[in-house]
Symmetry: C2
Amino acid sequence: MKPGIPKGTRDFSPLEMMKRNFIFDTIRNVYQRYGYQQIETPTMENLSTLEGKYGEEGDKLLFRILNSGINFSELKPQTSDLKHSDIAEKGLRYDLTVPFARYVVMHQNEITFPFKRFQIQPVWRADRPQKGRYREFYQCDADVIGSTSLLNEVELIQIIDEVFSALGIKTTIKINNRKLLLALAHHLNIGDNDFIEFVTLIDKIDKVGRDQVLFEITNRFKTPDTEWRNLFQVLHSSPFPHNITGKLEILKEMFANSDIGKKGIEEVEEIVQHWINNDPELISNFKSASLELDLNLARGLNYYTGTIIEVKVADTRSTFTSSICGGGRYDDLTGIFGLPNVSGVGISFGADRIYDVLEEMNAFPDLTGASTKIMFVNFGKDEAMHCLKLLKQLREAGINSELFPDQAKMKKQMGYADDKKIPFVALIGSEEMKSGEITIKNMVTGEQSKVKMDELMIVLKGTK
Amino acid sequence: MKPGIPKGTRDFSPLEMMKRNFIFDTIRNVYQRYGYQQIETPTMENLSTLEGKYGEEGDKLLFRILNSGINFSELKPQTSDLKHSDIAEKGLRYDLTVPFARYVVMHQNEITFPFKRFQIQPVWRADRPQKGRYREFYQCDADVIGSTSLLNEVELIQIIDEVFSALGIKTTIKINNRKLLLALAHHLNIGDNDFIEFVTLIDKIDKVGRDQVLFEITNRFKTPDTEWRNLFQVLHSSPFPHNITGKLEILKEMFANSDIGKKGIEEVEEIVQHWINNDPELISNFKSASLELDLNLARGLNYYTGTIIEVKVADTRSTFTSSICGGGRYDDLTGIFGLPNVSGVGISFGADRIYDVLEEMNAFPDLTGASTKIMFVNFGKDEAMHCLKLLKQLREAGINSELFPDQAKMKKQMGYADDKKIPFVALIGSEEMKSGEITIKNMVTGEQSKVKMDELMIVLKGTK
């Protein structure tokens, strides 16, 4: 029997784990530096919590868990009459946002608002597996709930810049505002009932191009010809992607009579003021990101009501076009669970995509920090006993170290150290046992030398 | 609609996460100090990987995942004819050992043996939930596979001592050897076919007491009266729990003619020699554990073939009686997946039980290290802008800090800092903006003082 794993899932080797942990640790550290606190929610949620929250398509992609102790003879007699709900009450977490909303409602009396939480956990979707898309993948979310201040948006944008700077990925942070999209719809005489359809069209620009979307919008909603030029300009993200002030001027003219439009402009202005000039009184420029106001940006999720954010790789070493981080403000996410009118805003890093970007750019740093620094060769029982004493001292000094467990051939033992990329090997034979010295071999240079224990400690502590 | 979570599962609040991470970090650090490398396997495994590996009872406790895109009308017409396998091909991970064996077989060509791996992930069992028993809980495993050396056992016992010393829990590490149990069975004329039944009886001593088990054994297997005294002695764990040498003497006499018995004694002796005397040439005594040879110890899992290990709390502050860590040697775990004759040995820490022990003993250390060190009060737009600049400097110095996002009432802002146990609050009004000073309030002592930015850094860096 040849074992396998379910399609769309993955094993992670020690090397892959080091790289993944580098991403998770980086994100966690930045979140904590900004005062976010970690929570975790169960892998399984009641289907009543999950269903209907991700659209019809999402419901189809839920992994459902068979009720335990199910008795098939007690079900409806015909299998064709069965429904999912007859045999499954629980499902696997589909994202971190809905479980978080459920958490906030359930624990509202223990939480001090505004609640700044982060959460790094896997989610599951029964999507068709393909390159870069998995059925089990990690999300790394931060949300502030219970505060309407736009300083939260400012902070989340700072966090995005900090995380990607620490990871060494140049990015473009695109922002938009649902209120601007709503005003745009009104301006084009598109009614509220058609807004979702309009947003869905806008959302396709990345895939099918602006011209096609413009054609479909004007066709479907009978856009007056006079609006073409404006629409063309605001939906244009290049060649002046960073000219936020210029875009806002066009919008101000378009939305002169729209309250919602003016509110959207005001929100964008309040956020971007921190970056659009170099006033030393401001929180200053980005470390590595650039900011763009992109009216094309819609983001499919219907619960967004204000700012929306999406991050793209802007690095010549990468061919990656899909977004690696996204988020936005929602005014009533907890309403579905019975706690209305609590505004929140959040972002989510896609750790698996970030991994793929760093892999493609060959940009992971040296991550051997937590690996073994020295391996003692096993020459037999007495020598091994001697080595155990030395290992005890090294480990007490916090140095990761090991003894090859078997008295195997030298070639095998050295090969093991080599494969594990252990920088030093210690050789202790009868001579060293008498003299109290340790022969060490530098596995990179091949150099061999005799040292005392205190010298060895100094060498190893200086080894990355 | 009032939201809930599936029974036997839990949400973890920020405070609980800090405590849980303390346990996970401690275990991970010790594993790494001994040269173990982390891997992860998918949450879902094929049921063909899981079924039949945990006994009949285990199969019942598997969580099965409904096949996605299932078409009920294409199934057998009568629901009473349905089997699990008709509608579910995948299940949730039940432990970390079987997926690890599957991993080793699948990746045998990429792995350098001996393979020292650790793995910290949740597992799921559809057990009846009760106090201290959950349907989703974490295991923290370390195994060495591809080495028969008993130095691995020695090392794992050292690891157990180190982990529990770092966690501040006094323990008794009980060891036994399956070969001794096998020799005992032979000695009592119990055939190999009845061995599992014999082991299952021995395993009950903790629950029903030695006398009851002795009665059942003699009754079921017609033990000769002349064996009573010996049996009574070796199955006695008190009043001389640490007298390993004495117990080995009794066993040597009993198993004088048993090859398997002599092998078992030899293995135990080779392991315990490191601790049973104070010879400075040995790796020395335990930090906080004590070692016990306990012939009562059986451990239910059938794949063990040599050493078995179980750890109990030995702390007067705790009433905990179930084991908090366990493990053993298995000679052919990967055989079921087509890779025979690869010996391994491993241990597993039960993080959730360890959590409950530390909670009961009120023994978690101060864990606020990753929390916010200072909160800036929000007095309005201009003051907030000023604070953002200072926050940027603090965060660049690695100090976790935050600004209250809304211009709320003083009482609310101070209450937030208080609830989040933030040690310092900064108050910056128009006066401080002019002078460049910062008024800080120590939230523990209530003291208030004016400091410069560089002084503040020094204060905060010295704050735990």
